[in-house]
């Protein structure tokens, strides 16, 4: 598939501290679903923030197909934004109703009626059509995270960046949302880059798992998941892939790769 996002030689650093990530290169294909795993503090959130244009890299670039210069999530073309970030915490505006939260990213991009239509259809996609008029505090955690997802989908991103989106949810809710993400990924054709600590989640969702490790961090393993969708958690092959990835990680730790 054609390359959508080309991340070239990124180095990310805070102030004068040694870089968090150095000389980091990865490409994301159109419609691909990539998971990133790595211990906390390795630099996953920093990476997503730089890709989204919320922070500048020290060096290197993120190039999107068809764009002349650097691209940020905040840019808008024809009622869409190139990237959308789904935060770990929902970060909904508590003083806005659900529907107005979903329309947030479209303000200044579409007129009110188009925003409303788009938001309604996205809320339907995430199964919250009848919660449009609620306040965020009237929703469960899982529902808030669905709204977070809907707000991202509403801008019709070419690539969606998700930062440990399900880590604060209970198992049942998490599995429901994982299924939703898979379905939405296929329905919308957006590319997905999802950060997770959960090996099983990575194997369930990803076409490819990137293992981040070391200091400064880099991709220390590029692990393709060859199972067809939909994947069955109970299946033997699923368990085998999870085990293989776990063993790989354990080996890397043993080898002092410092995951």
């Amino acid at each position: 598939m054609a390359t959508l996002v080309d991340i070239r030689n990124l180095t990310i650093a805070y102030g004068s501290a040694p870089p968090v990530l150095a000389d980091f290169s990865v490409t994301l294909a159109e419609r691909s679903l990539t998971c990133i795993v790595g211990r906390s503090g390795v630099g996953k959130t920093s990476l997503l923030r730089v890709i989204a244009g919320l922070a500048p890299p020290r060096s290197g670039a993120v190039v999107m197909a068809g764009a002349d210069g650097p691209v940020a999530a905040a840019d808008a073309v024809h009622g869409c934004r190139p990237l959308a970030l789904v935060f770990q915490q929902p970060r909904l505006l508590p003083w806005r109703r659900v529907i107005d939260n979903v329309m947030f990213g479209l303000e200044g991009v579409l007129g009110h009626d188009d925003r409303l239509r788009r938001a309604q259809s996205v809320l339907t996609q995430v199964g919250l059509a009848d919660h449009a008029g609620r306040w965020p505090h009237q929703l469960s955690r899982g529902q808030c995270q669905r709204v977070n997802l809907a707000r991202a989908l509403a801008v019709r991103p070419r690539v969606m960046l998700l930062d440990e989106p399900f880590s604060a949810l209970d198992t049942v809710t998490r599995q429901g949302l994982q299924a939703d993400v898979l379905r939405l990924w296929r329905e919308t054709g957006t590319a997905v880059l999802l950060v997770t600590q959960d090996i099983e989640e990575a194997v369930l969702l990803a076409e490819r798992v990137l293992v981040l490790g070391g200091r400064p961090a880099r991709v220390i393993r590029n692990f393709p998941v060859t199972l067809p969708y939909p994947r069955q958690r109970e299946s033997h092959r699923f368990a085998t892939q999870v085990k293989t990835l776990r063993d790989t990680l354990a080996e890397l730790v043993a080898d002092g790769e410092g995951i």
């Binding site: 905040a74 808008a76 934004r81 970030l85 970060r91 947030f104 990213g105 200044g108």
Partner: protein
């Protein structure tokens, strides 16, 4: 319901004691006039231009509150968003903060004479003093993650962030400052009057100098009612703006 009944009963008891004390000769009516005499006293005050005084003082009050709150909130915002401005203003603020609000009355008289603008000035200073720090603190306390979210969704410009995240996020804290400012403002109106600037406060002071206890009470009740009214308006606005919390 029970509570309301008890509250009314309490009020009735106070009125009864108040009415009884001067009638039974416990206190002189020139010290504490009975409430039954109030309607007549009120009528006399009314014939003496009470309504004009209310209008005048309320106008000055609202003007002063508007100016003081407006400038206070603006400056609070600016200071919260600019560390440089905060550093610059921290010195003057340290010096000015301990000045009691009523100490500005003579300054107002000095600059504006015994006039309406002097009252407006003193009210505005008091309201400003309550609003600026409240607004600054409220804006600083807005969740920075929401600001970053706004940036990620293309609303990161200075004005859209201010209007869509900072202002609504700080609204509750700003409102607390406004309520304190509303009380400060009435204090300033009374203070300005006692110092001899024409208005409700001055009339009250004149009534007291003339030993017209019932007239003093009329003006006391007038201030109570005005303060109650502005505070009730505040509650109304607060309830509207915080609908999302319930």
């Amino acid at each position: 319901m029970k509570r309301a009944v008890l509250a009314l009963a309490g009020l009735g008891a106070v009125l009864a004691v108040w009415e009884g004390a001067p009638r039974l000769g416990w206190v002189s009516p020139s010290v504490l006039p009975p409430p039954s005499g109030l309607p007549l006293a009120f009528w006399r005050a009314y014939a003496d231009g009470w309504l004009d005084a209310v209008r005048e003082s309320l106008g000055q009050y609202l003007m002063g509150v508007g100016i003081g709150a407006g400038l206070g909130i603006l400056l609070g915002f600016a200071v919260a968003l600019s560390p440089r401005l905060e550093a610059l203003l921290s010195g003057p603020m340290q010096v000015l903060r301990p000045v009691p609000a009523l100490a500005w009355v003579p300054v107002g008289i000095l600059w504006f004479g015994f006039t309406g603008p002097a009252v407006i000035f003193v009210v505005a200073i008091g309201v400003f003093g309550a609003n600026a720090p409240a607004a600054c603190g409220a804006v600083q306390a807005v969740d920075r993650e929401l600001v970053e979210m706004a940036e990620a969704y293309g609303q990161g410009g200075r004005w859209s962030t201010a209007a869509k995240v900072l202002l609504p996020g700080a609204a509750a804290g700003i409102l607390v400052g406004i309520r304190a400012g509303l009380a400060q403002g009435w204090l300033a109106v009374v203070g300005a009057g006692l110092a001899g600037i024409p208005g409700l406060g001055q009339r009250m002071e004149q009534a007291a100098s003339g030993h017209a206890a019932d007239a003093v009470l009329v003006y006391l009740i007038t201030f109570m009612a005005l303060f109650g009214l502005t505070d009730a308006l505040w509650v109304l606005v607060r309830d509207r703006l915080s609908a999302w919390q319930r």
